[in-house]
Amino acid sequence: MALFRTAEIIKASKLPPEGVKLSRMIDAVYFLPIAYLGVFATFHMHFDLLAGDWDFWIDWKDRQFWVTVTPIVSVMYPGAIMYYFWTFYRQPFGATLSLTGLLVGKWITVVLAWYWWANFPMNFVMPATMVGSALILDCTLLLTRSWMLTAIFGVWAFAMMFNPTNYALFGYSHQPLVIDGQLMSLADYMGFTYVRTGTPEYIRIIEVGSLRTFGGHTVWISAFFSAFISMLMFTIWWQVGHFVGQSFFWVKGKRGKMTRMNDTMVIGSDEFAARHGTPDGVAPGARVTARTAATTLS
């Protein structure tokens, strides 16, 4: 068995060379301007509404809520996008597409909104990254070819790897310092020193709650909790993807009965014509003939 199956796949698609060329143009037009921009714009909005402040501000990145909320929110949209790309194309990049899209959106915001417009230093509003976790999720789906196993193992790793991945970015901000005789982390001090008129300190939702047993290993307890909720969220959003991503036709059969056809690829096939006939106004066999003509070109 050949290592690369690209040639086999193209042949199996039964498209003429012009069709293959056209399909690549469709790939380019559909993927970059439509799918990618659409996903990054909508996911960015979704993420900022649900986990925005934890991701905007360095003094919100705590051991409990940041670690808990971010993976849960980050896995929702990829769940639906992964469903779509996997179910219809067997493409295992839904999560990476979503989270690199979020990354692009985040950096546009950091540079244009926070730095250029609002004059905050970029390190103060540095976003977290989930791209590593997304790669784990996509690789798990590709290797297991099962969304359930992906939900159990991939999503678990997705959430558990969030803190270690981002510790490399934000570890420095937990260095201690003393201001006016009071111990603070550097992140606390940055939140204090950069004046945010509309965001007083009490707005922070940090370090509140009971996820703090097991000898103070709060961050891992939060990550575990986050992983379980993320599994649930992934499952729900995979089904959301199923709900909004399905395509079907209502077809009028030979006896005039309307039937819902979920398998859109079968429409126009010989098998379909044999089973259901053809719509009014189309001569039996016309569609089959047209299709046959197209396939024989290859």
Partner: protein
């Protein structure tokens, strides 16, 4: 393209050009205030009563230090419609972080995080600032109350000269060394975002170099299509990518952990700040008050008793950060740096200006009259859901000692022009 469509395109294009032209012609001007006038009068008059606010100095340069200081009295007549000040934060109202805040003390206690304030209590705040962004900025002290929102204090102008590129905000670490909060960790953040970005886009790119959608969809629809699309090379790449991701995460985590061996979690404590209380030899009780809408005046009758040993003269009524003074107030409490747009130096009138002698009880008719009531939109009191007013009355003895009373009471609007009382 037919003529009709061409015409439509021309119209749309012209509208677009006109919009662009208008945008360039009428550029947005910088905000000169923070919407404090839009806050309801009962909120501004009966929650935080600001006094002795100072912006010092009013002209600074980038990296120079300045001070925003003053006092707040938490009104005893705190409105029912506003959440009580159980969690508050003394903040700075400024257009972005034009200053960095170096220190914030309330009654001498650092207030880095939020804490409760006592109704009827008095708090002196001192906020140390460092000039960051050059410009002419309108700066307010603010009391942010959880559940109620920010309550803006009086706004004053502060100028910062110099160049932002020269700005530095160094801070000493407990474990030694100094870092600049403007740039700390920026390189690491950019580096790691770059690494993950490259990996993520490479993964997507790996699938972009081959047919992505239409061809795969057609194959998948066929029997056995799923198995055909399970390309062995993708599985090898996925195994490699998984290993690489875990390896990079581990490297990043352990290197950072060894780089910063001493770390602490975010601090979420609560300062417990003891309130002081207003001192006065006078006791005051509002007997009645009305608000002359067309005359733009607050007229009140107060029953005043002097239980001290010195005669006292009333010199100032201040509410919502707006000051109404008479000659006594000007002589004793005139701060030339206080923003003139929120101060009426001839705005307070007393029917009987003689001092209130020790042991005397007198009905004092006090009239604060100025266009500031309208300009500062305090006349909107008539539209409030809670028709009461509040403020601070200041009196002085011959030696210049100040006595402050917090007053509050019902207020009746007078909608038609009335004769002055």
């Amino acid at each position: 393209m037919n003529a009709k469509n061409l015409f439509k395109m021309c119209v749309i294009g012209s509208l677009g050009m006109a919009t662009l032209g208008l945008t360039l012609t009428f550029t947005a001007s910088p905000a000169a205030a923070h919407g404090e006038r839009s806050q309801e009068p009962f909120l501004r008059m009966r929650t935080a009563q600001w006094y002795d606010t100072r912006w010092n100095p009013q002209k600074t340069a980038v990296n120079d230090e300045a001070m925003l200081s003053g006092k707040i009295h938490i009104s005893e007549d705190w409105p029912r419609a506003v959440v009580k000040p159980n969690r508050t934060f003394i903040n700075v109202g400024s257009p972005s972080s034009v200053f960095t805040r170096l220190s914030s003390k309330v009654n001498g206690i650092p207030m880095m995080t939020s804490g409760p304030m006592e109704i009827g209590g008095d708090y002196e705040f001192v906020i140390k600032l460092r000039g960051r962004l050059p410009g002419h900025h309108h700066i307010h002290p603010m009391l942010a109350v959880n559940g109620a929102g920010p309550i803006a204090g009086p706004g004053g102008w502060m100028d910062i000269s110099g160049n932002y590129k020269d700005f530095q905000n160094p801070v000493k670490l407990l474990v030694g060394g100094t870092i600049d909060t403007e740039t700390a960790g920026l390189g690491a953040g950019l580096f790691w975002h770059g690494i993950w970005g490259i990996l993520g886009f490479s993964w997507i790119g790996w699938f972009m170099i081959r047919p992505m959608f239409l061809i795969r969809a057609r194959v998948l629809a066929q029997e056995g299509g799923d198995a055909l699309l399970n390309d062995p090379v993708d599985r090898y790449v996925a195994y490699g990518m998984l290993g690489l991701v875990f390896f990079i995460i581990a490297i990043g985590f352990f290197v950072t952990d060894s780089q910063y061996p001493y770390t602490i979690p975010l601090q979420a404590g609560e300062p417990k700040i003891k309130a002081t209380h207003l001192q006065s030899d006078l006791t005051m009780k509002v007997l009645n008050a009305d608000y002359d809408v067309p005359g733009r005046a607050l007229r009140m009758t107060i029953l005043v008793t002097n239980s001290g040993e010195h005669p006292l003269r009333i010199g100032e009524f201040t509410t919502a950060g707006i000051r109404f003074l008479n000659k006594v107030g000007v002589a004793n409490n005139m701060d030339p740096t206080y923003p003139p747009e929120i101060m009426a130096t001839d705005g307070l009138n007393l029917e009987d200006e003689s001092p209130i002698n020790p042991g005397e009880t007198r009905e004092v008719k006090l009239d604060s009259r100025d266009s500031l009531w309208e300009v500062q939109r305090l006349m909107d009191l008539v539209h409030d859901p809670d028709q009461r007013f509040g403020g601070l009355v200041m009196s002085w003895d011959e030696a210049g000692n100040r006595h402050i009373n917090s007053i509050a009471g019902n207020i009746i609007p007078v909608f038609t022009r009335a004769t002055q009382s």
